[in-house]
């Protein structure tokens, strides 16, 4: 900011109030940095017991036995990754469709309320999604979606098994509704940031409106990928809705109809029941792994979105 320089030119002496104020605000900014470090440090300290006992094996073992004090996080990591991936597969085409519709097609009078409704979806609390998923979506999946999938695509192991309703598929579907608003609203802002000249040039060269949109899409590719990864970050850490529909069983199975378990749900379910030090420590290690995973995913996504929109005014709102 240029004010400081001008001030120094005009008044050579340093104002005490300015120095105090600047350092005070800087202190609070540092506090945020300190907080992130403290979070990692606290969790590492509390998880030490389990980290020392199991080492890296913790990440690839699939036993979870509080009685024998044997812990491994693989089923939870698997459940988190598969449910998130499923959510993105479902949400991705829809989100891009919405983004294109809002940024390129919809007239202004339609676009404003539609954007508002999509953002309302982002504002619904996770627990309400959970309640709705549990009482409305799961029965629908059990009676309609799963029988239809197994009768048409049953030759693929993914869609085999008894239709419980509750399970990995339900978790993926509820997550897809939850990541949809984030991915679509950021993609919309990224699409809007495409310089007009790009589209005008395409149109002037005789391309159709759809071809011009495709050029805009490829121009904003890295921003859209950033939006998708941000959605992934949200899906990885989503707790309540997933806990209520995934079935909470630490197994790894090929079928999407089977129940699973995610890292966030095991924390939600078992944290208050953890009676021994080792049990608690293993759970906190899961939290630490989840924390690091989301930090990495989010850093990557922010960098991509920042590189497109100026300092991420779009990403800020999520």
């Amino acid at each position: 900011m240029s004010i400081g320089i001008h001030r120094e030119l005009l008044t050579p002496h340093v104002n005490v109030g300015d120095a105090v104020f600047k350092n005070l605000t800087r202190f609070f900014a540092l506090l945020i940095v300190g907080m992130v470090v403290l979070m990692a440090f606290e969790m590492y300290g509390s998880a030490k017991l389990s980290i020392e006992k199991f080492g890296w094996q913790f990440l690839v073992r699939s036993v979870w036995d509080p009685v024998k004090e044997e812990y491994g996080a693989l089923p939870f990591i698997y459940g988190t990754l598969v449910s998130s991936a499923l959510a993105l597969i479902i949400a991705l085409p829809l989100s891009i469709g919405i983004a294109v519709f809002l940024a390129e097609i919809a007239p202004r009078w339609l676009e404003r309320p539609l954007s508002f409704f999509i953002e309302l979806l982002a504002g619904i609390p996770s627990i309400v999604y959970g309640l709705w998923g549990f009482f409305v979506m799961v029965p629908w999946i059990r009676t309609t979606v799963e029988p239809a999938l197994s009768s048409t695509l049953g030759f693929i192991p993914l869609f085999r098994g008894a239709p419980y309703g509750i399970g990995m598929l339900a978790a993926g579907m509820i997550l897809s509704v939850m990541v949809l608003p984030i991915v679509s609203s950021i993609s919309r802002d990224v699409l809007r940031a495409v310089p007009r000249s790009q589209k005008e040039a395409a149109l002037a060269l005789g391309s159709t409106r759809w071809e011009a949109t495709r050029i805009a899409l490829s121009y904003s590719r890295s921003g859209i990928i950033g939006a998708i990864i941000l959605g992934l970050g949200r899906a990885l850490g989503e707790t309540m809705a997933v806990t209520m529909v995934i079935g909470n069983r630490p197994t790894i199975s090929a079928s999407l109809f089977e129940p699973g378990y995610t890292m966030a749900s095991v924390l939600a379910n078992e944290f208050t029941e953890a009676t021994s030090q080792m049990y608690l420590s293993a759970l906190i290690e899961i939290a630490l792994v989840l924390f690091l995973m989301t930090i990495i995913v989010n850093s990557f996504a922010r960098l991509l979105v920042w590189s497109v929109t100026k300092h991420g005014d779009a990403a800020r709102r999520t």
């Binding site: 506090l31 940095v33 979070m39 979806l121 504002g123 619904i124 959970g130 709705w132 944290f271 996504a301």
Partner: protein
């Protein structure tokens, strides 16, 4: 292809409408005066309400506000007024990254920070967990809003001989106050709807709490506990709780929308 785009927008609106419809139709049937004024009844007795949970949510969010406001607003001020350097960029980046940390993880952090040293679940732990969630939103909104204050305001104030810190506090902050309030409301709306960070910090309480040092009930944890319970009566109350929560959040977001209407006119 354009038809597909319109269709996907329609598909996205279906769950929104269905969730609203279910929550309103099922929630309304269990809402009565008791719901807002009475304590939860023991298992087997019908009736009762979630008065303590509604108050509990307000206390927890209030506590979160007390912790997160000073940090968020001061840090936002730093970013906008002095943050045009590599340190500012890295704080901005960390804040954005923190925004994506799962809420359940902030619960775990609050557990290790507050519950373990105090050796019991308490409202304080819940407040800390919510504060960690709120800080990034408040920081970034404050920064954006302060940046929208025209540079000429700052220059005019400085030209009149007002020192820079007074300019920041009395001119810039005051001008941007409306926008900052919306950021704060967004953070409050988000915090009020959080369940995961409260599960093992504030825990739950079927009675009135007498001090913040005790476990405190919250609307969201009650919705969870009642929603997965086998009793029809409790499930109906869970829907009613969801309705109350949604109305609270909807009012907040409409207020935000209204307050920022002119500001975001270009968006």
């Amino acid at each position: 292809m354009f038809a597909f785009c319109g269709l996907s927008t329609l598909i996205a609106l279906v769950p929104l409408l269905l969730i609203f419809y279910r929550t309103i139709s099922l929630g309304m049937s269990a809402i009565n005066l008791d719901f807002f004024t009475a304590l939860p009844k023991p298992v087997g007795e019908s009736g009762g309400g979630l008065a303590n949970a509604i108050v509990g949510t307000m206390i927890l969010v209030g506590l979160g506000c007390c912790i997160s406001f000073p940090i968020g607003i001061m840090a936002g001020m730093f970013l906008s007024e002095y943050g045009n350097n590599p340190f500012g960029t890295s704080v901005r980046f960390l804040t954005d990254v923190m925004n994506g940390v799962p809420s359940i993880v902030t619960g775990v952090v609050a557990y290790t920070l507050v519950v373990i040293p105090l050796k019991h679940f308490s409202g304080y732990a819940g407040g800390v967990a919510l504060a960690i969630l709120m800080i990034p939103t408040i920081t970034r909104t404050t920064e954006e809003m302060l940046k929208m204050v025209p540079q000429s305001y700052r220059e005019a104030a400085l030209a009149l001989g007002i020192s820079q810190w007074k300019t920041s506090l009395r001119i810039v902050l005051r001008t941007a106050l409306g926008g900052i309030v919306t950021g704060v409301m967004l953070a409050i709306a988000r915090a009020a709807g959080e369940t995961a960070p409260l599960l093992f910090t504030a825990l739950n309480n079927r009675f009135w709490h007498t001090s913040i040092d005790q476990p405190i009930a919250s609307l969201t944890v009650f919705i969870y506990n009642y929603g997965v319970s086998p009793f029809d009566d409790w499930i109906a109350q869970a829907w009613a709780g969801a309705l109350v929560l949604m109305v609270m959040i909807l009012l907040l977001s409409i207020a935000v929308r209204y307050a920022t209407r002119s500001r975001y006119a270009g968006n």
